[in-house]
């Protein structure tokens, strides 16, 4: 059997294991481990989509967490400000849809004394009026679309910017977004953060088992599903002309254009697609942790994603996803502090120092990451042998 098959079989096995994991894992730290997996999937989506953007298309954007935040905040704003009523309030902005009213609440900020229009209207609403929140999945969808719109916009704006200039522009974009979210306290509640409902607010009954809304099972499968969906989309895309063209424009934009590649379209496309994935991850993760603050936009959060992608292997989507999962688990499991003589080593911080050092050393000495070369060893098996064999078979070729 050819060794090219090994990673595929391992991949299928891993996916199966991930699917049955919640049912076979029964130790006391079940909740904690499940939480790690959910976070790991979240970062794996971000790292692998960033590797599509930076590693494949060569666009070193620092705005990836900003797209994630756009998704999360869109979902949060939707959940906080949109209600469905069975009777009109005559106070709020509202639209009649069938026999229902879609009500958009007015932002009142964090000061608790002010009442929003719905609370005022409650006093005069007819008895028995049903006030409900529309399904959160529309909010998630809205977040994905909003991420796509911003991705499209940024993609068009940065068409002319290369490397350092692109990095600076995207840092600027993320910072502006963070400042705006922190400053518009009336709408976003600033540093206090916006709360989100759990993914299944009323819990879920599956196969006769009832899971409460705080059970980790649903977010686990939601995140796993999103992760596998993103991976499938990206792997599919990289096998098509899209993957070929974005790599060509990473290598040499002018040469690619001279060969007929519509560089504008593919650059904008890759920004849009990766932004939508980041936004989807953000929206789901926001619903899982229940609250989002502007701090998810800090540049250090972005460095975490970059570091995961780089250590895994920037030029391989699978490698950066695996890298993200492994690194997340290592970071979380290295939290235990210990003592060396009288000195207490606070591992919650030192693990990040080591992580930074590993990042720098990887960049310097293992440019393609630590995991990508392993995958390459399987996937590119036989290339060198083939070259040598063919060369010997055709001794007359010209070469300098």
């Amino acid at each position: 059997m050819n060794r090219q098959w090994i990673p595929r079989i391992a991949g299928i096995l891993a996916v199966v294991l991930l699917f049955i994991f919640p049912f076979i894992y029964g130790r006391a730290d079940y909740d904690f481990i499940m939480h790690l997996w959910i976070t790991a999937f979240f970062f794996a989506i971000l790292a692998s989509s960033w590797s599509l953007l930076a590693g494949y298309a060569g666009q070193f954007s620092f705005a990836h967490m900003a797209f994630m935040a756009i998704g999360a905040y869109t979902a949060a704003l939707y959940g906080n400000y949109i209600r469905i009523l069975s009777a009109p309030t005559n106070l709020c902005t509202e639209y009649q849809i069938g026999g229902r009213w879609l009500v958009i609440l007015n932002p009142v900020g964090v000061t608790s004394s002010a009442k929003d229009c719905l609370e005022i209207a409650k006093e005069s609403l007819p008895v028995g009026t049903i006030i409900s929140q529309p399904s959160i999945w529309w909010g998630v969808l809205g977040g994905v679309l909003m991420g796509g719109i911003f991705g499209l916009l940024v993609g068009y704006l940065v068409l002319r910017l290369r490397s350092t200039y692109l990095a600076l522009f995207t840092i600027g974009f993320a910072e502006i977004l963070r400042a705006a979210i922190s400053a518009e306290i009336a709408i976003t509640q600033g540093q206090a953060g916006l709360e989100l409902l759990p993914l299944f607010p009323r819990g879920l009954t599956l196969f006769g088992n009832t899971y409460s809304s705080t059970d980790k099972l649903m977010p686990y499968y939601a995140m796993l599903f999103l992760f596998l969906l993103c991976m499938a989309i990206m792997l599919r895309l990289t096998g098509t002309r899209f993957g070929l063209f974005i790599r060509a424009l990473r290598e040499d934009e002018e040469a690619a254009a001279a060969l007929g590649v519509n560089v504008v379209r593919y650059k904008v496309m890759v920004f849009t697609i990766t932004a939508m994935m980041a936004a989807a991850a953000g929206a789901i993760f926001g619903h899982y942790i229940g609250i989002i603050t502007p701090n998810i936009l800090l540049i250090l959060q972005m460095s975490l994603v970059i570091a995961m992608a780089v250590i895994g292997g920037l030029e391989s989507i699978v490698a950066s996803a695996i890298g993200a999962i492994i690194i997340l688990f290592m970071l979380e499991l290295l939290r235990n502090s210990f003592d060396i003589g009288p000195v207490r080593v606070d591992m919650t911080l030192w693990r990040l120092v080591f992580f930074g050092a590993v990042l720098m050393l990887t960049l310097r000495f293992r440019r393609n990451g630590l995991i990508a070369p392993i995958l390459d060893w399987f996937n590119r098996a036989g290339v060198a042998e083939e070259t040598v064999a063919k060369r010997q078979a055709a001794p007359t070729e010209g070469s300098d």
């Binding site: 063209f245 790599r247 001279a258 007929g260 504008v264 070729e397 010209g398 070469s399 300098d400």
Partner: protein, 253 residues
């Protein structure tokens, strides 16, 4: 039949006029040499024809379509292919992938495997078929040059502009490039060769264009152009130092 019409192209960079009212036509599968001293505007002219630059004034038509305002990728699809003075193989893509890029760009509905046969033919012709799964960066400078020529074959344009195809090339490879030029020409493509190497230009081309500081000072049969007093004064009379070019090119190994 291939038909390129260049009408009164002028190009200014800042206050500097790099091209001045350049006009010429290409009809059918011609073999044309484009020469001129350094800074004559040869590369600028190529960039304008290719769509990378817009002319300050003037128009370019290819087979009846106006191409001077098109972006490069549309010009390429309209049937004009070019190579670059400095080799620009896609270094982190395999040789085959390098070839698939133009093929897929040209055929929106096709897939990679549709072109495997054609790509292998091209590689065999260029004698680099054994390297098909190697990355571009693993190739020597000369092989990368061949790869670029191969990409043009996959694009299958009507007119090909080769910018310094012989600079820093091993004599053995030179033969292959010669063969390549004659083949694409026989296939009905027009070829414009920009080169410093007078010998090859005179052996290859049936027609010579001479640029001098933005002006097209001669256009015609090489033997006649050779004896044109303005050309001799502007260019041929000066001893060109070819060596400087060779050094620059071949450090890509």
């Amino acid at each position: 039949m291939t038909e390129l019409r260049v009408n009164n192209i002028t190009k200014n960079f800042g206050g500097l006029q790099v091209l001045h009212n350049v006009s010429f036509e290409v009809n059918g599968p011609e073999l044309i040499g484009l020469i001129g001293p350094n800074g004559a505007g040869k590369t600028t002219l190529t960039n304008i024809l290719d769509g990378a630059l817009n002319p300050t004034s003037g128009t370019v038509y290819l087979n009846g379509r106006r191409i001077d305002a098109m972006p490069p990728y549309e010009v390429a699809k309209a049937g004009l292919g070019r190579t670059f003075q400095v080799t620009r193989a896609f270094r982190r893509m395999t040789v085959l992938e390098n070839l698939y890029v133009p093929a897929l760009a040209l055929h929106p509905a096709a897939r990679q495997r549709d072109f495997e046969g054609k790509a292998m033919d091209v590689l065999e012709f260029l004698t680099i078929d054994h390297l098909r799964n190697e990355y571009g960066r693993a190739l020597s400078g000369g092989q990368q040059k061949l790869l670029e020529l191969g990409r043009l074959l996959m694009l299958d344009p009507d007119i090909i502009i080769l910018d310094e195809p012989f600079a820093g090339v091993h004599p053995k490879l030179m033969e292959i490039i010669y063969k390549y030029i004659y083949k694409v020409n026989e296939d009905g493509k027009a070829v414009i060769i920009i080169s410093h190497d007078m010998d090859t230009i005179f052996t290859l081309s049936k027609r010579l264009l001479v640029l001098n500081y933005g002006d097209l000072i001669a256009d015609g049969d090489p033997e006649i152009v050779k004896n044109d007093p303005t050309v001799i004064e502007a260019y041929l009379g000066v001893d060109e130092d070819d060596d400087s070019y060779d050094d620059e090119e071949d450090d890509d190994e």
